[in-house]
Amino acid sequence: VISRVADHCFWFGRYVERAESTARLLGVTRELVFDAELPPEQCWQPLVIVSGEYPSFCARLGIEAAGNGEAVQQYITWSSENTVSLRSSVRAAREIARTVRDTLSLEVWQEVNHLYLWITGGEGQRSYTHSRQEFYNHVRRCTQLCLGLVRSTMLHEDPMRFLWLGVMLERVGQIARILDMHHHTLSGERPHQVVELSLWLCLLRACSGFEPFMRRNQGRVSRAGVASFLLFEAQFPRSLRYCLRSALSIMEQIWPGKEGVGARPIAALHALGSWFDALEPVARTISIHDLLSAVVDRTSGVCAVLGQEILGPPRPPSLRSAEQPA
């Protein structure tokens, strides 16, 4: 696969997954406010923090706004100044899809194009105003359909692998953030036990993990149990362990040789996996926030090595107007 195309596929996967995750997080937090009977600031402020946007959010809207659900949703959903907003992610995914239009299948393109037109046209705005939860659900359905179509309509070879690698590595970061957000929510005053339970259930729902978790744990919900499930459950496709292993296995399919091209990102991801595995026995004794921060940082490191490996040194910008319209 052409290097530039591989890079675009990787980022397409990341942006689609990021859009899905953002919609999940917003939808679930909104439900949390109703279910957990927590003060709004305790629900919304962590969401801004884990998105990495807290400083610029406060600079634009003031610290007080972080407790205002509408202000947070507006900023995380629509703001074009926020590069990780839902709209920015959808726009970026669609922009990239256009540049690798020939590599994606028609169905994948149509789905991401539909989502883009829906969000940027009036329909998405109307849905956001009149039925907020339906808005988040629609975005999730579109992104899930898009990724499902990737697997069911594209050739299972390198372009799809790079795309899926992007999905997996993005998901690692997103799950770590969601978990960390709950750490923030709980780190305030020790909440009532009922509140804590609804927080954990909410977290599981945010990761589509409610039913799988119950099946694994026969209905017993505990803080340690939920954290351990989302960190280490090897068979759950939204656990950190699953995503890290899956990413490694994709890289090994792309570069089957032990040496030469691909050796560096494989080594980096392998090291991350080993470090992560070694934490399992001691996970209860260390700060979960530190652990999650380390996962996010090390994953970014792997992505950086991967980017250098795929693309090589920077090259001149693409040509804009070399063919005259006829």
Partner: protein
């Protein structure tokens, strides 16, 4: 007995323009024989039904992302090419004559290119003035004696035709560089299938599906490395180019890779593409980039754009470029008046297609004629396309005409003039009037030429791109100037 007033149908108020040929009806408003089935079916439509088809069609195009980028807009705004669901329809025998004429014209133009980049016989025998050819902006003297792999230079051609008030088709211009628009032909047909399926089935229309396969075989036929291991790519300037949709579309249809200049590099006169597992050799490049941006080492040493060394690889016959560089000389509008002479000179035949009488401002007498009659004429720059660099004399202001007079006197070689032809019309949906209205159309057929053991062999896509000037009274069909398009139906002839 009370007789109800007849319901308003699509054609009940349709009247062709005076002094203009209409593609679907005669001067009395009756359907032309080959268009009868279509006319009958559409007559059964109420205006609301056609309006519904029209908005469904537009919706399909937006959803599929069949868009072009607007040039002047840096942020890359996209628009759909406006589409009218009422097709343009061509009779089988008429199309057969056009097809023969197009093949003849292409054969002569190909021989002309071989000649001027080789022995220059036609110049030595003074059939065409030497300075017109060698002075053309897009003639590349450094390519003289460079032979294209497979012996083909014009793999993909788009010839623009118009039809005059007598119903005669005339060639308006030749596009032998990177003609665009074929993706709209194929997508327009897809849309027609969605919104007018029963009409299409009933009418007996020739397929256009075969284009991508023909194009892929055309590319493969000129591979310098034998056809079994050929690596073909489509070279695009990138996603911000106005024709990017078409580039991606054709790459997808052929299953070949879409590359940007920075994806390619040249080593030892061989072209490679950068991949995630190292360099891979490239044999055939369907390039949708102008000559000047192909290779900075050859064309513009100061430029960062393009693939350095590409022209050396081409000259060494290690890579085929589709189309060959240097073809632009044939698109020059001051060369165009000489095509009938080329046909006689190279083929010993009379031209089968008519042209439009053209006044070349480089010629002293023609120039005087043009300057005396500016208000009647259409003046065009010889090397611009897309409706740019034009003066429509009858509509222009006095100041605009004065500006062109100054320009012509300063650079006479750069301008030609023609009388405005009353382009034929086709019934077209007028959203404001909620009715069919006559709007002017042209036609761009696409011709593919592949290399065979018996020499070059041409194939013509049935129909081509019908562009339509959507504004009432407009003669300009270019998408950059408010034009749209229609599906073009070539009727199946009597089965033999």
């Amino acid at each position: 007995v009370i007789v109800a007033a007849p319901a308003r149908t699509l054609f009940s108020e349709y009247r062709p323009l005076a002094g203009t040929f209409d593609e679907l009806v005669d001067q009395h408003g009756a359907a032309r024989p080959h268009a009868l089935p279509l006319h009958r079916l559409l007559s059964g439509f109420a205006p609301e039904e056609l309006a519904r088809c029209q908005s469904l069609a537009e919706r399909v195009l937006v959803d599929q992302g069949v868009t072009f980028s607007v040039y002047s807009d840096e942020r890359g705004t996209e628009k759909i090419l406006p589409f009218c669901v009422v097709p343009r329809i061509l009779a089988a025998d008429e199309w057969a004559r056009l097809e023969a004429g197009l093949k003849q014209r292409l054969a002569a133009l190909a021989l002309f290119l071989d000649d001027i980049y080789g022995p220059q016989r036609i110049l030595a025998e003074r059939v065409i003035p030497l300075e017109i050819v060698l002075g053309a902006k897009h003639y590349l003297p450094r390519l003289r004696h460079v032979l294209p792999p497979g012996g083909v230079r014009v793999h993909v051609a788009g010839i623009d035709l118009i039809r005059d008030p007598t119903g005669t088709f005339r060639v308006l211009e030749d596009n032998l560089r990177t003609p665009s628009g074929v993706s709209y032909v194929l997508e327009n047909r897809n849309v027609t299938k969605r919104v007018l399926q029963h009409v299409l089935e009933y009418a007996g229309v020739r397929q256009v599906d075969g284009y991508a396969t023909e194009l892929a075989e055309t590319l493969r036929s000129v591979s310098p490395r034998g056809q079994d291991h050929t690596q073909m790519v489509l070279l695009t300037p990138g996603a911000y180019n106005s024709a990017y949709f078409e580039h991606a579309f054709l790459a997808r249809m052929m299953g070949i890779e879409l590359v940007e200049p920075s994806d390619l590099f040249v080593d030892a006169d061989t072209v490679y593409v950068r991949t995630t597992v190292g360099p891979r050799r490239v044999d055939v490049i369907y390039r949708r980039i102008d000559d000047a941006f192909l290779d900075p080492a050859f064309f513009r040493p100061d430029s960062l754009l393009g693939v350095p060394g590409l022209m050396r690889a081409y000259a060494a016959q290690n890579v085929a470029l589709v189309n060959a560089p240097g073809n632009g000389v044939c698109d020059d509008k001051a060369v165009y008046p000489h095509v009938p002479a080329m046909i006689r000179f190279y083929l010993g035949e009379e031209p089968k297609l008519e042209q439009v009488r053209t006044y070349v401002c480089a010629d002293h007498d023609d120039r005087r004629y043009v300057l005396e009659r500016l208000p009647e004429l259409v003046v065009k720059s010889v090397d611009e396309a897309g409706g740019y660099g034009m003066l429509m004399g009858p509509q222009a202001s006095a100041a605009e005409r004065e500006e062109f007079r100054t320009r012509i006197l300063a650079e006479p070689r750069r301008y030609i003039a023609q009388h405005r032809v009353e382009l034929s019309t086709c019934p077209t949906w007028d959203a404001e009037g909620h009715m069919l209205a006559p709007r002017r159309v042209d036609l761009r057929p696409f011709i593919l030429t592949r290399s065979t053991s018996a020499g070059p062999s041409s194939w013509v896509l049935p129909g081509g791109l019908t562009r339509v000037a959507l504004r009432e009274g407009s003669y300009v069909v270019n998408s950059s100037q408010g034009g749209g398009s229609k599906d073009t139906w070539v009727m199946q002839g009597a089965r033999s």
